[in-house]
Amino acid sequence: MSMINYASREINCKLVYYGPGLGGKTTNLEHIYGKVSPNTRGKMISLATETERTLFFDFLPVDLGTIRGFKTRFHLYTVPGQVYYNASRKLILKGVDGIVFVADSQIERMEANVESMQNLYDNMAEYGYDLTRIPFAIQYNKRDLPNAAPIKDLQASLNPGWPIEDATRQKQTPDPAHPGENLVDKIGGEWVGHAPYHEAVAVRGDGVFDTLKAVSKMVLKTLS
């Protein structure tokens, strides 16, 4: 739920990084924290266990700059990935404007990815939010590892597509990040939509800003 404050001329939006445990959600935020100028970001708050596993959330406010005279600030949150922290994970989703799903590309983590994606759909549905209609991007992280699954397998499991029933959206939409691929396409007579995806190696920072930029744009587009 974005908040527009006409008194202080600020727009605040909430982005949540979701995904299985140890997938790299916190690493994404740490990289952003390290790269963005200290003038444009706030303090990073991590509510973590002694072993640095996220217990409640990580939080990082980032100023995008002034747009139309309004200071545009994104509040980035991560959720705890471990299955048993669902109660706190659900709380963080409240009022979300955009979601990045950070998937762990390792073949061994495929099941954990699918379980976390299902959990995301379920938690969103409980708030009455429709994941297919809000800004949502998938990041396939850890692409440098030798046991990383091929993108087409990850896409088939995590981003198989959803039917597009709204006639105004039934038009072929190219994926700007992947030439030759479409975000909305007619497959077997049916219009199908996919979430945009990005490949990443978050520990090196590869793909981190591409993902953030893509989802931020989508969020601001919903306000324009």
């Binding site: 739920m1 527009i4 404050n5 008194a7 109660a87 409240k94 429709d130 809000i134 324009s224």
Partner: protein
């Protein structure tokens, strides 16, 4: 619903909020009052300027309130409409406003918890009215937003290079 609805508030709303909170601070002897929305965004600060990072404070406040909400449900309560965190010198009182916003009152030994609670009750009533009015004019708010961010994409592109 595709996602949560946005809301906005204008100069006049802010003035009304400020007037109510300034009167509350004067009557209760509290140092500072903050309004934080349930998603962790700071809406307003009135009174002494806090010495901490208000953005981080707001996100933790919302998390604190939400976690306590769930705890209330677990023990069979619909909600905890207010919370108190008492320290040796500094304390906080948190109260729900219109189910969407949290009033956070910071006070020290110059104020008593009893007085803060008593005065907070009436200011929460006033703020409920202001916020409900604000949420009811969502339609107008949407109209004001339209076109506000046209051309923003280029500016985002510039920011991220």
């Amino acid at each position: 619903m595709a996602g949560a609805a946005s809301w906005s508030f204008n100069e006049n709303d802010f003035k009304q909020i400020q007037t109510h909170l300034l009167a509350f601070l004067r009557d209760s002897n509290a140092r500072c009052a903050l309004l934080v929305d349930r998603n962790g965004q700071l809406v307003a600060t009135v009174g002494e300027t806090p010495q901490f990072d208000p953005t981080a404070f707001a996100s933790l406040t919302a998390a604190d309130f939400s976690a306590n909400d769930q705890l209330a449900k677990m023990i069979g309560e619909a909600e905890f409409a207010s919370l108190v965190h008492q320290g040796e010198k500094e304390s906080m009182y948190l109260a729900d406003v219109a189910k969407r916003v949290i009033l956070v009152v910071l006070f020290d030994q110059r104020a008593t918890l009893g007085l803060v609670k008593l005065k907070a009750k009436s200011v929460v009533g006033e703020l409920n009215k202001v916020f409900e009015e604000m949420f009811n004019r969502v339609g107008t708010g949407q109209a004001q937003q339209k076109g506000l961010l046209e051309g923003a994409e280029d500016e985002i592109d510039k920011l991220f290079g």
